[in-house]
């Protein structure tokens, strides 16, 4: 028997989860969708963000989201450095395909193993006053642990959307994904623009990591589960647009949540990845694709 209350709650939980997934994916939408850099190591940076939040939170009791935002500039610099290596080693030589992919794959693995060596494989969590509370609207439960990450994620998305649409650098980032040469004619250096954009994409991982560790306890290897999810959402959303990506994230969130509610959580990952395989096979341009 499918009860209506249960179904409504599953959908609402899925939407909240989807909102959070948007924060996880936005970095890849920038790096993969706009810059053509296949950063499969993005989940490793998110894990790093989670563990930074964990370390600071457990020592000083500062709010994890605040930590994520404050650390974002540091992640921005790390991202610029990674891009610089990538640029000299692959883009400049014109060997971006398998070697570039393997570079990020190796980075993902190094990140994960390094975190395991430092923190072990125990699950870690953060403490904040709103974890454990929830709002009740009629039959619908809104746990703050899910609601707040979702809202922060939407806020981050809105800020990035404004930045891309309204500022010179933001427009240049959009331009570099469409026409490098035209950008050069506007007297902007494509590789500088890409460096900044990649820095921003890694900076979002700081915030996303903090949100992740609010939602669930974290151990280093769960980043892997996010690789497929992130790319599924990115491809579903048509790669470059934020609204499309958000729609894809909500869709995956709802589908996963319904699956987990009615068939059990152990089937949830297969659904997201099955979706990805289907999308890639049937409609590679995404649900809102051109």
């Amino acid at each position: 028997m499918i009860s209506l209350d249960l179904a409504v709650n599953a959908v609402v939980a899925g939407l909240l989860l989807g909102g959070f997934y948007a924060a996880v994916t936005v970095g890849v939408t920038i790096s993969f969708g706009m810059l053509d850099i296949v950063n499969i190591a993005h989940p490793a940076f998110i894990m790093l963000g989670s563990f930074v939040a964990y370390v600071v939170n457990s020592n000083f009791g500062i709010d994890p989201i605040l930590i994520g935002v404050v650390m974002a500039p540091v992640f921005f610099l790390v991202g610029m450095a990674v891009y610089q290596i990538y640029y000299y080693a692959f883009e400049q030589r014109g060997e971006e395909s398998i070697q570039g992919l393997a570079f990020f794959f190796g980075l993902l693995f190094v990140g994960e193993v390094a975190l395991i060596l430092v923190f072990g494989v125990d699950y870690r969590f953060v403490e904040a006053p709103y974890i454990g509370l929830s709002l009740h609207l009629g039959v619908v439960d809104l746990p703050l642990r899910m609601l707040i990450p979702c809202l922060v994620s939407l806020l981050m998305l809105a800020v990035l959307q404004l930045f891309l649409g309204r500022t010179f650098i933001g427009r240049a980032i959009l331009a570099v994904s469409q026409d490098r040469l035209a950008l050069q004619l506007m007297a902007a250096n494509p590789s500088t623009i890409k460096r900044i954009a990649f820095g921003i994409s890694i900076a979002t991982a700081s915030v996303a990591g903090a949100l992740l560790i609010i939602i669930q306890p974290v151990e280093p290897s769960i980043g892997r589960d996010y690789i497929g999810r992130i790319f599924a959402i990115c491809v579903l959303g048509g790669m470059t647009s934020f609204p499309g990506m958000l729609a894809g994230a909500m869709l995956i969130g709802v589908v996963e949540s319904i699956t987990a509610t009615f068939y059990g959580p152990s089937w949830a990952p297969a659904v997201a990845f099955g979706f990805l395989l289907l999308t890639l096979a049937v409609r590679p341009a995404g649900i809102l694709g051109r």
Partner: protein
């Protein structure tokens, strides 16, 4: 002539390894470690058929490997077939999976193919986790037969099987490399559209490549349940199989059959030594760091370095 020489020499090397190691090493541990290195020769050679020759990056190695292993588990529970038959069946199952994956992802190029294979691995793992007959997420115990079919202990028997398998897969890779098939694979890697326009049946060749590569990975996985005696999804689908299978050909060199062999022997041995002397987490870090360092510094691997030096000397 060169082909005959290769067959002769490689057969002698394999036979010599088989006989000499059994004579020299009395310590069982050597065979445990040797098995892993040989297994990686098979895996990285298989990966290279698709990745190096045809230019498609497969990150889902764990899926093919584990499907081979789990097909052996099913056979073990249902029948009492000998391990060589299980290897063939495991290869068949993974070959079918490879064919299916190739068919599903025909339209995907480069990066999307790589992501699809990652997704495939997770889907396959989820199915195994939810399949109680083979133990689900709890894993399954496989009891080895008391007596090895050949002279020596059971682990020596598995080691010998893996040695034969390694020889077969390297021979297959080399044969492909020198054949029209290999030429077609390389044409796809260099420019798929141009290959299609030039009359290369890209669709069929890609399917052959994914099937063959998948089948060999499955064969490498088939004896695993007997090697570890306890199999669970988390370890059999482990990402480290994919990382190793990608790292070894990249470090050795992807253009020639010898590249994956060099990479596998080098990395496999280093890892075995590091596991014993330092720690098992650190050896994965070594692989990751070596992979990143090599693709930056020597994108064509050790074979590429040697070739560059030879060319410089000729000049």
């Amino acid at each position: 002539m060169r082909a005959a020489k290769f067959w002769g020499v490689s057969f002698l090397v394999a036979a010599a390894l088989l006989v000499l190691t059994r004579g020299f090493f009395t310590n069982e541990y050597f065979f445990f470690a040797g098995y892993v290195v040989l297994q990686y020769i098979v895996l990285s050679t298989a990966w290279n058929i698709l990745g190096g020759y045809t230019g498609y990056t497969n990150f889902g190695v764990g899926a093919f490997f584990a499907v081979g292993a789990y097909s052996s588990v099913v056979l073990h529970k249902l029948t009492s077939l000998p391990v060589p038959v299980m290897i063939v069946v495991g290869g068949l199952m993974s070959g079918i999976l490879g064919f299916g994956m190739g068919y599903l992802t025909l339209r995907l190029k480069g990066v999307f193919f790589a992501i699809a294979t990652l997704a495939l691995a997770i889907v396959a793992q989820t199915f195994i986790v939810n399949w109680d007959y083979v133990g689900g997420s709890r894993g399954v115990y496989v009891i080895r037969p008391q007596q090895a079919p050949l002279y020596g202990s059971y682990i020596q028997y598995l080691y010998s099987l893996m040695l034969v398998l390694a020889w077969v897969s390297v021979a297959i890779a080399r044969t492909i490399e020198r054949s029209r098939l290999g030429l077609g694979f390389n044409a796809i890697r260099d420019d798929e559209a141009a290959a299609e326009a030039g009359g290369v049946p890209t669709l069929r060749l890609k399917l052959i490549s994914t099937t063959l590569s998948g089948a060999l990975m499955g064969m490498a996985g088939a004896p695993l349940p007997y090697y570890v005696t306890y199999l669970d999804p988390a370890s059999s689908f482990n990402l480290s199989y994919a990382v190793n299978s990608v790292a070894m050909p990249l470090i050795g060199g992807m253009t020639s059959w010898i590249g994956p062999v060099i990479g596998a022997v080098l990395l496999g041995t280093i890892q075995q030594l590091a596991t014993v002397t330092i720690s098992s987490a650190l050896n994965l870090l070594i692989v990751g760091v070596l992979l990143v360092a090599f693709v930056i510094i020597a994108p064509n691997g050790i074979v590429g370095l040697v070739q560059a030096r030879r060319r410089a000397r000729l000049r």
